[in-house]
Symmetry: C2
Subunit: 80 residues, 2 copies
């Protein structure tokens, strides 16, 4: 089954990339942009059929496999 992992910088962390995009959008006339943060998105195909099992396995992967840095990032698993 296919699973998506959204990895975003934590709120307390200054996201310079997001800040740059925000400024650039404002300069290009998109004045309605108030805040912008940029993270990663990982899409994985797993040979598991059970949603809960897949979710648990992805959580394990995130924590043990070094896919994200818990000090500065947070993650959200999206089933697709």
């Amino acid at each position: 089954m296919k699973i998506g992992i959204k990895i975003m910088p934590r709120e307390v962390i200054l996201d310079s990339q997001g800040r740059a995009v925000e400024q650039s959008m404002k300069m290009n006339g998109f004045s309605e942009v108030q805040d912008c943060r940029i993270g990663k998105y990982v899409e994985m195909n797993l040979s598991l059929e059970d949603k809960e099992a897949a979710k648990l396995q992805v959580e394990k992967m995130l924590k043990e496999g070094g896919l994200y840095n818990p000090l500065i990032e947070k993650f959200e698993i999206q089933l697709m």
Copy 2:
């Protein structure tokens, strides 16, 4: 309102970063990973209350503001 934009490499494009993560996960014992692709995720706060208006504005931003490269990437807007 808050809006999310998922930007992923197109299927026809070789995603070397995703390939590397896939190999690394397999080497770390996560043999159930079949395929992995890595993209970007942009979260924006817009000073617009209407969902449809926000969506249209984000699409305009993506196309005119250079937030993504249509030749090698595809996007998906997620309302939050």
